[in-house]
Symmetry: C2
Subunit: 547 residues, 2 copies
């Protein structure tokens, strides 16, 4: 073999595995050594909660590429249970321990790729190390939880943290028949998303028997005399549990990088350039451990997701092979499914815009069916879209619902990537057949509503904006809808009667108009404006404003 | 009322209805008269096959906007059963007949909008007017078919034409328990799509008990002595039927437009500018009756779909209101669902490129799962993507499969609209969770494969290209897969053994390499190339090439 160089890759999941395979396709004659400290290479981290619940029946199912693919198909030297403990950047060597036999090993490299991933956060709370408190990050974690639950005949679980892993784990524990409580410090699940967007998902969790404790942090953990656990919260509550899952989040695993004096970024991840090169030109880093640039604001950020990790692995391999490709950065597309519901986002959220001090945006809320209403089975999509008021540039979108959430997110993600405006969305030509969409697709509707605003054909405010206490609020729904719940103090004047009864309304103050989801209010507002009234639409209607 | 002008709209479905609603929002004081010659306004044409099958339980379900919405909410004068028979463009008047009482009517207009739709083609074949032969275009059509089938206790049906309506109707007749034969003149269903793309759908139809007769045109229709029908084909076959559905296609209804001397385009539709204005500046036309510019080649085309019709209605309304918006044109996104399968496309097909004499494109075939393989229930997506070889510009995509077909089509449609390249697809950040996609999404994979080609990292040919009879064809699948069917004369050398047994292969001729779906062949080709062989991949592998 005309081996010309050696590349050592530390970490064989997502980014590392992807890098190794790409590198072999680039370079047949390079020695590639892929080291993984855990017992499994290339396992599907994202599938762990479903393995816990048994939806995924065997541990082996989680192995995205079996070891033989690396060794036989790719001629890669794969070593699991090999933990790298130190790097000597000057000598270009790594040293570590073979955990299967305790023996040390050393390796020289021409290029080194770090893909150590992230570690679950274990807050230093009283009792956090009690038996029965677990995190979900690896196949052995799942094996330990399953075995603990079996031995202790677990009936009650507390999940700490209401993010992706927390919710997926909660659902799976519920499927296993446990009573499940989710404790989340913030007043919403899925902290990266805007609170209103996740409200229907919170309702879905409650309907499925999961107790949600929001806005209450964990103070500590205790053992009970009968050998169970109690999770104490800051508000003074206590929740008993046979098993506790900590899913508060993850932090980049930078132990090795720090020991090798590689540059660490402001967010605590390994700093890399657009080719995934660290501050040492022979060392690359990819995946959950690195800081990547957000395409939204060009600021380095942390995003522990498998998709970007895979693409980063490919970019690092190409860089090692002397190719000029760069990593595009991330826009933060994500989704989570719980029971029959899904929620996710792409691009900016409103809370991120506010945090960045931006006020140059507007919000569209809508609640269309996922397909034509005349075909049975249409499910409501809840869509919050953000755009730049100066020019209609799409800034972000969040979607919740029972069907086609991923589809809408993907379309928004594609448009966002291509710097589309709401005028592009208005004109989008989406796939329509009765069971697959609408003649006006939800994406068209979002674009049309925003474009109407930008063309000055409508004025609207979105939930969170304040309605002056003395404002005239006009509900143009039917008396039946009105009776089912309405804005306190609202006047009910159904749209079909509005033209004839407009004289009943004042012209001296602004009318705040709403209906159920926004459509009739727009019709009413257009009518009122042309009759000399001033009208402001409540975006998304009662569906958006009731909470 | 300070009515300032009168707008008459002829045709109250899709384009016409949409135009009327938009116009009222633009102009509160304009008199809007909406005339429909049929008994129903704003009905969901696209739902008719499902109304036939009873999936949609009531005729009323098909009314997208009930008449009261037009009259009460919008103050539009809606008249059904009002057929306009002539236009006097000089006098700006229309005349017609109230079909409910036979009385004539006349109306003056300041602006006129024609939305007459399209009429089903009834070829002048012997017997085409026999009772029991129907088309599917309106609610009365469906009522007539249902009543005929009941009276005649129909057990056998022949559907002529394998396009959207034909297939949807065939499926619905099958659900009603009939024996169904589909006769299609071309050698494939869904004539606008490439033949290989629809093969799995043809298989799905057969599995569901529908007899497909491809490549055989209808010669005529006969009555039998026992008062049934026989459909005779050009090849000499005869298919008995209690009911026959003609779904050969539609042609623009230009009767009125021609009578008014409006310009008709080369494709037989009403000519309009980008604001949907006809050759008479006071007359607009929208929907299935008009020719619209294709954004693909800037050539006027016919596209009888509800989505574009709706958007055209809005553009015409804005033009009447003196606004400058224009219609973007069409890219031809379409989808059809049959049983548990769906197939569709957006942008160019290969047959359209060939018809246009273009050779500046390449094809990518892939067959990924619709979500992560480690999560149960992944369905195979069959994707054919076309891109421009000069720069990677996305030209079109076609997708078939049991899940997420609409999702992938929408994403390709969005990227195509924004002039994305395959390099953009490679970097796309799609929504991924185990049940909703893959860490490398199908769209990423399509982009990666194409980008590999463009960067010179792979050479491939796609089904339809010829393999020289003396070429060495290498199958790198397992012996078991090989035994299940393979290219005649192919050598089987499984990828895991390839590195060790490469000496068995010639370097003097090009190796044509394939696996099941394309991935292993790419790995093999990269390896072979670097060992001094010349390798060409068969795009999409055996999944694409077996037919």
């Amino acid at each position: 073999m005309k081996t010309t160089k050696t590349v050592v890759i530390v970490g064989a999941v997502a980014g590392g595995a992807s890098c190794a395979a790409r590198l072999r396709r680039n370079e047949e004659f390079t020695r590639i050594v892929l080291l993984e400290k855990g017992p499994h290479a290339s396992y599907a981290n994202c599938g762990l909660p479903y393995r816990l619940g048994g939806v995924i029946p065997h541990d082996d199912n989680l192995l995205v590429a079996k070891p033989a693919v690396f060794t036989e198909n790719f001629g890669i030297e794969l070593h699991t249970l090999h933990e790298v403990r130190s790097i000597d950047p000057a000598a270009k060597t790594v040293s570590g321990i073979d955990l299967s036999n305790g023996k040390p090993f050393d390796l020289s490299y021409d290029a080194l790729v770090l893909s150590p991933g992230a570690v679950p956060i274990r807050p230093p709370l009283p009792g956090v190390d009690l038996p029965g408190i677990f995190t979900v990050r690896s196949i052995p974690d799942i094996q330990a939880i399953r075995s603990w639950m079996e031995v202790h005949q677990a009936k009650e679980a507390v999940v700490v943290g209401g993010g992706f892993i927390g919710l997926e784990t909660a659902e799976n524990l519920r499927h296993l028949g446990l009573e499940v409580t989710v404790v989340e410090m913030l007043d919403q699940i899925m902290p990266p998303l805007d609170a209103e967007v996740v409200r229907p998902v919170e309702a879905c969790l409650a309907e499925n028997g999961i107790r949600l404790v929001l806005g209450d942090g964990v103070a500590g953990f205790e053992n009970t005399p009968d050998n169970r656990l109690v999770v104490r919260t800051k508000s003074g509550s206590g929740f008993s549990a046979d098993v506790v899952i900590l899913s508060i989040g993850v932090r980049p695993d930078t132990t090795l990088a720090k020991a090798a004096n590689l540059k660490i970024g402001a967010r605590g991840g390994i700093s890399v350039d657009a080719q995934m090169r660290t501050s040492d030109p022979a060392i690359y880093a990819v995946g959950d451990a690195v800081e990547v640039v957000s395409v939204l604001d060009d600021v380095p950020t942390l995003l522990a997701l498998a998709g970007p990790a895979n693409r980063q692995g490919r970019v690092a391999a190409d860089a090692i092979s002397g190719r000029s490709r760069t990593f595009r950065g991330v826009q933060g597309t994500s989704i989570v499914g719980v029971f029959d519901y899904a929620v996710g986002g792409t691009g900016w959220t409103e809370k991120a815009l506010k945090r960045a001090g931006r006020t140059d945006y507007a919000v569209v809320w809508l609640h269309p069916g996922h397909h034509a209403g005349y075909y049975p089975g249409a499910e409501t999509l809840h869509i919050k879209m953000l755009y730049r008021t100066a020019d209609g540039l799409l800034l972000g979108a969040q979607v919740a619902g029972r069907a086609d959430v991923a589809r809408k997110l993907d379309v928004f993600a594609a448009f966002l990537q291509m710097n589309a405006t709401v005028f592009d969305l208005e004109e989008a030509e989406m796939a329509y057949a009765p069971q697959f969409g609408g003649a006006k697709d939800a994406v068209n509707l979002a674009g049309m509503i925003a474009a109407n605003h930008l063309r000055g054909e409508a004025q609207s405010i979105s939930p969170g904006a304040s309605i002056p206490p003395d404002a005239v609020v006009l509900d143009v729904r039917s008396p039946q809808e009105f009776a089912g719940g309405h804005w306190a103090g609202a006047i009910n004047l159904p749209l079909p009667e509005l033209r004839g009864r407009m004289g009943e309304l004042t012209k001296s103050s602004e009318l705040h108009v709403y209906c159920q989801s926004g459509k009739r209010a727009h019709d009413a507002a257009r009518m009122l404006e042309q009759h000399g009234h001033r009208a402001v639409e409540l975006s998304g209607g009662w569906d958006s404003w009731k909470s």
